[in-house]
């Protein structure tokens, strides 16, 4: 296989000023453009990303669904109510305490996924729960990101005593199982609420699990960030910035921070997934979202009591958790591959 013909596209005279670089077809295409382009070509990650967006959209539509389809709220009990299924009257909760099972579309949209022990509509609670779980997951991850980037930058940039203090603190946080800290903090705060003078947080506020999750996850992101800063600070471009008189703050924000974005983006989906799982665990143990507010974790906790008679109570929130975490993880892998051009993928010809 020997070609003597060359591509007809001849190169214009290459003077030193005339850039012809093979790596990019376009000019000025930044690292982000390139990553986005690679992500867009990923046939696996994109559908899962879309799935996650769909879950978010559904969660946002929860009130509309409750009002116009299920005609009930998430916390409304229907212990002694009856509904009509295909012309038949049925108790929402039988006299022996067993709630009605999934009706799908048979009851005109009511009790599509059945009722729980209090006669509450599981579908409605599932969607409202999604709101809470996703809100906590996303917000907690943002808090984690801000804290971890700050802490990681400081530790990696200043090293020495600053690093020692920060790293030892993170180490000791690491040494506790996050669920344990979460439960300890969560239970005590849920009882007394939080009084920070200006801020007053009620015991059943969503902010309490959010903050707890946000803080206990810092260590997962702060470590890689610190490691990256440690190596970045030795790069010559940091030296160059120092040489022309940039202050420490300027170096951290203008030189280092932009280089951390890809690490953060790589970790973010997994971080959100973990936060959602952690929320579920905390709520399951009674230290997260407080009843009667729904979240996937509280719904699971309620469901286990009736696991044998009404498995739908655990299957529904469990399935949502699995779907969310799966979509985030697969999408996260795609983001990582897109940001790391060295990842070996076969390029179609």
């Amino acid at each position: 296989m020997t070609t003597h013909q060359d591509p007809a596209t001849a190169l214009p005279a290459a003077d030193p000023g005339e850039i012809e670089h093979a790596a990019t077809g376009r000019t000025g295409a930044g690292p982000w453009h390139l990553a986005a382009r690679r992500l867009r070509r990923n046939r696996v990650a994109l559908p899962f990303g879309a799935l996650f967006l769909l879950l978010v959209a559904i969660a946002l539509l929860a009130p509309a669904f409750g009002e116009s389809v299920a005609k009930t709220g998430p916390n409304t009990n229907h212990l002694s109510d009856t509904i009509t299924v295909r012309g038949q009257e049925r108790n929402v909760v039988e006299l022996d305490g067993v709630p009605i099972g999934p009706q799908y579309l048979a009851a005109k949209g009511r009790y599509m996924l059945g009722a729980d022990g209090n006669g509450r509509d599981v579908m409605v609670r599932l969607l409202y729960g999604a709101r809470n779980s996703l809100f906590i997951g996303l917000t907690a991850s943002l808090i984690t990101t801000v804290l971890a980037v700050t802490v990681g930058l400081l530790a990696g940039y200043y090293r020495g005593p600053v690093d020692a203090v920060i790293s030892r603190t993170l180490d000791s946080l690491w040494a506790f199982p996050p669920v344990l800290i979460g439960v300890a903090l969560g239970v005590s705060l849920a009882l007394g609420g939080l009084d920070l003078g200006l801020f007053q947080v009620r015991g059943n506020s969503l902010w309490i699990p959010t903050l707890i999750i946000g803080v206990v996850s810092v260590v997962y992101l702060a470590r890689p960030i610190r490691g990256q800063v440690l190596s970045l600070r030795e790069k010559e471009f940091v030296e160059a910035a120092r040489a022309h008189g940039a202050s420490d703050l300027q170096i951290m924000t203008r030189e280092l921070l932009p280089n951390l974005v890809s690490t953060v983006l790589t970790f973010l989906p997994v971080l959100v997934a973990n936060a959602i799982l952690l929320e579920a665990a905390l709520s399951f143990l009674g230290a997260g979202v407080q009843p009667p507010d729904p979240s996937w974790g509280t719904m699971l906790a309620n469901g286990v009591n009736l696991l044998i008679t009404s498995p739908h109570l655990t299957i529904a929130p469990g399935a949502m958790l699995v779907l969310t975490v799966l979509s985030l993880n697969v999408f996260g892998d795609g983001v990582r591959d897109a940001l790391d051009p060295r990842s070996r993928v076969k390029i179609g010809t």
Binding site: A14, E18, I19, E239, A240, A243, H244, R344, I347
Partner: protein, 741 residues
């Protein structure tokens, strides 16, 4: 050397093939004695941006015991060619063509198993980076034993005995003991020897060496080349040597293949290529090297432009866009064939006729008479460095106790005038970079003073330093690490301006000016660093350094990561800027040829100390310090005939540890002239005629009388009692520098 001679390469007609024939390496010979037969090898890589034609239509043959050098600019496909022969480029995105027959196996189409059987046994490879190519967790001896046992059924003891033998053969002292060491216990040069030992363990027929000495210092490089030569003589191993250093090529090769844009553009014997080059690209390569064996030209001739993209190669002759001799025939694809009647083995890919080539073969566009006047002394001092020391504590053990100090810079003094260029050379680890970072005040000196325009900045705080930063800027070695990959060029070049409070619109305007000044176009302002080649990135680094109109620029190995042709462009740019703006340079480099080209004066460092500081022409023609002489003699000159005649002195050993430097003269452990006095007394920097300043008890090239009345240098502080040095006897001058003078 006359004007005419220095502008022509060689100027000697072909015919002198003494050396080539002695190795029986006439490329025209076919059939009988061919070890490896490479035919039309082609390697394409599918990438996101299109198909990269990394290697195209490469054919050559290799005879036993022959050294074939593959040269060319970065990205010309040298490494891909070499690695393809080892089957190391195979990947889902690689497409291969052609054949490479070794005995009766085709290396291109062989299966993985077949390849594994010949790898190491028949064909072995050594890589550029001796630091990463050994497994850090296994003992050296064990790694070689494994290599042997992978191919031969021998007992552990036998294999170990062989391992120790090969280690001895490549010059590892106390090989028996050293076989039990881990790679990190060896220095770079030693590790490269181990790599060679490993490659040689099974007596392969072919050794592929990809830039085997690029990461090493010149004195160590000379030792390794010596080792490779010896191996070749001993075991008839054929060597494919991939390198960009034409000096190394002239030193060791029998035949040369010049690659450009994935193709061989010229191939012939050593003398044919050096003294009768046929392809304009070869002329350019040979012309753009800064050389220590010739008069210094005013400007380095450079090949304009840069290598083409391998995705969209120029049609016909790939060198066309950069060729000064292009004519109607060039859009057609030239075959690699003999175009000379008298040398059937000398092939090239250029349409010009043989006579035209010989008449046009001129390099440098006649700029050689523009020699710059040297500024030496008599200028007002910009920078005064006095007795600067930089010691780093070494901490050991659980309690982090300080167990010693690295004497990275030890009592260095010099001054630098306005608009002057001071070269700073020395082997790796001698403290060049530490010294320049200390001058930049990125480090605080342990001791001594640094004065900038009379102001002592040695211990200034960072707040006080910030306004002074304007005056001293730096250009870094690594064009990839020195630009923030996440920022646009306008932000990178404009950052210094921004930090010094220049308004935004003004920054945009200045940035455009600066980019134009360094030969880039303002349109590049919005691009990101990854879109530029190494040379262009270095231009961007220079633009950033110029942004604040500094008075001094510290250039830390500014061209060592670049190809020779691009090096020449950047060096010329630096000289133009100096002429225009009168900025002073501190030019740090390990490449003595480039340093000589740019510097007014040169300081030679060894183990943290200045050994000699002399005007550059003086230093090269009449080195006073034995270390300077050793460095100069270790550089291979890109001139095969001169190399053959030159009496080379290979300095043995390696630099000692800077944690525990030798007493007295730090060079004494490697110095061929060392005597008792050198052990006991630190030689002080003394002045000698011709502006030389050197620290040696028994200097070279200096008469007895001159030694006796050598003035104490104003730069020197050491009061080591003025003992008269012992007589210098003529027969005690082991370093022959005559060939260089």
């Amino acid at each position: 050397m006359s004007e005419l001679e220095s502008t022509r390469i060689g100027g000697v007609p072909p015919g002198d093939r003494a050396r080539a024939s002695s190795r029986g390496a006439d490329p025209s010979r076919s059939g009988t004695d061919v070890l490896l037969d490479v035919r039309n090898v082609k390697v394409d890589f599918n990438t996101e941006n299109g198909v990269v034609h990394a290697v195209d239509d490469v054919s050559f043959s290799l005879a036993p015991g022959e050294v074939l050098a593959v040269v060319g600019e970065s990205g010309s496909g040298k490494s891909v060619t070499a690695m393809t022969l080892m089957g190391l480029t195979r990947s889902p995105n690689a497409v291969f063509g052609g054949s490479a027959r070794l005995h009766d196996l085709d290396l291109i189409s062989a299966s993985g198993n077949e390849l594994r059987r010949v790898r190491g046994k028949e064909i072995a490879m050594i890589f550029q980076d001796p630091m990463t190519s050994l497994n850090p967790v296994h003992r050296i001896g064990k790694q070689i034993v494994e290599q042997i046992q992978a191919h031969e059924d021998v007992s552990d003891e036998q294999a170990m005995r062989r391992a120790v033998q090969v280690l001895e053969r490549v010059g590892i002292p106390r090989a028996q003991e050293r076989a039990a060491s881990y790679p990190h216990e060896f220095s770079g040069g030693m590790r490269q020897r181990v790599m060679i030992a490993m490659a040689m363990a099974c007596d392969p027929a072919i050794l592929i060496a990809d830039e085997p000495t690029t990461a090493l210092d010149v004195t160590i490089q000379a030792q390794i080349l010596e080792e490779m030569r010896a191996l070749r003589e001993r075991s008839e191993t054929a060597i494919i040597l991939v390198t960009h250093d034409l000096g190394v090529v002239a030193d060791i090769a029998d035949r040369i293949a010049v690659m450009y844009a994935g193709r061989i553009v010229e191939m012939g014997t050593l003398d044919e290529i050096f003294y009768d080059p046929q392809h304009p690209y070869t002329w350019g390569l040979l012309g753009s090297i800064a050389r220590i064996d010739r008069d210094r030209p005013g400007r380095l001739p450079s090949i304009p432009g840069m290598p083409p993209s391998l995705i969209n190669r120029p049609q016909g002759c790939h060198f066309r866009p950069r060729c000064r001799h292009e004519f109607e025939a060039c859009p057609r694809y030239p075959e690699l064939e003999s175009r000379l009647g008298e040398a059937p083995g000398h092939h090239d890919r250029c349409w010009l006729s043989a006579e035209e080539k010989r008449t046009r073969r001129v390099v440098g566009e006649g700029e050689r008479d523009r020699a710059r006047s040297r500024r030496c002394g008599g200028v007002t001092a910009l920078l005064e460095v006095a007795h600067v020391k930089q010691h780093f504590p070494v901490r050991r053990g659980v309690f982090n106790r300080v167990s010693g100090h690295v004497h990275a810079v030890d009592d260095v003094s010099f001054s630098l005038g306005r608009g002057e260029t001071l070269g700073l050379v020395g082997e790796s680890g001698c403290g060049k970079t530490t010294l320049s970072r200390t001058i930049m005040r990125l480090l605080e000196p342990t001791d001594g003073t640094i004065e900038l325009e009379g102001r002592d900045i040695s211990h200034a705080r960072s707040r006080e330093l910030r306004p002074l930063r304007k005056d001293v800027q730096m250009v870094f070695q690594d064009p990839f690490a020195s630009l923030n990959p996440r920022k646009r060029i306008v932000q990178i070049v404009g950052a210094p301006l921004m930090h010094h409070g220049v308004p935004r619109q003004e920054i945009g305007r200045r940035t455009n000016e600066l980019l134009t000044r360094v030969g880039l176009s303002p349109e590049h302002a919005n691009r990101f660093p990854h879109e530029f080649s190494g040379g262009q990135r270095q231009r961007i680094g220079i633009a950033r350094a110029l942004a604040l109109s500094p008075k001094l620029i510290v250039l830390d190995e500014p061209v060592s990561a670049l190809d020779v042709s691009i090096q020449a462009q950047v060096v010329n740019l630096l000289e133009d800027i100096q002429e225009e703006l009168g900025v002073a340079y501190l030019f740090v480099a390990h490449d003595l040829s480039v340093v000589r080209h740019v510097s007014d004066r040169i300081a030679v460092m060894y183990l943290g100390r200045v050994m000699e500081l002399s005007p550059s022409e003086e230093l090269y023609s009449k080195p006073i310090h034995p270390y300077t002489a050793a460095l100069l003699s270790a550089i291979p000159v890109p001139d095969p005939r001169a190399n053959r005649d030159r009496r080379r002195v290979v300095v043995g050993g390696e630099p000692p540890s800077p944690i525990d430097p030798p007493s007295g003269c730090v060079f004494r452990t490697r110095c061929p002239r060392a005597r008792e006095l050198c052990r006991n007394e630190v030689p002080r920097l003394s002045e000698y005629p011709g502006g030389h300043v050197a620290a040696c008890h028994f200097p070279l090239n200096v008469s007895e009388v001159e030694v006796g009345c050598a003035g104490k240098s104003p730069l020197s502080t050491r009061d080591s009692g003025n003992t008269a040095p012992a007589l210098v006897e003529d027969d005690e001058m082991p370093l022959d520098t005559g060939a260089l003078a």
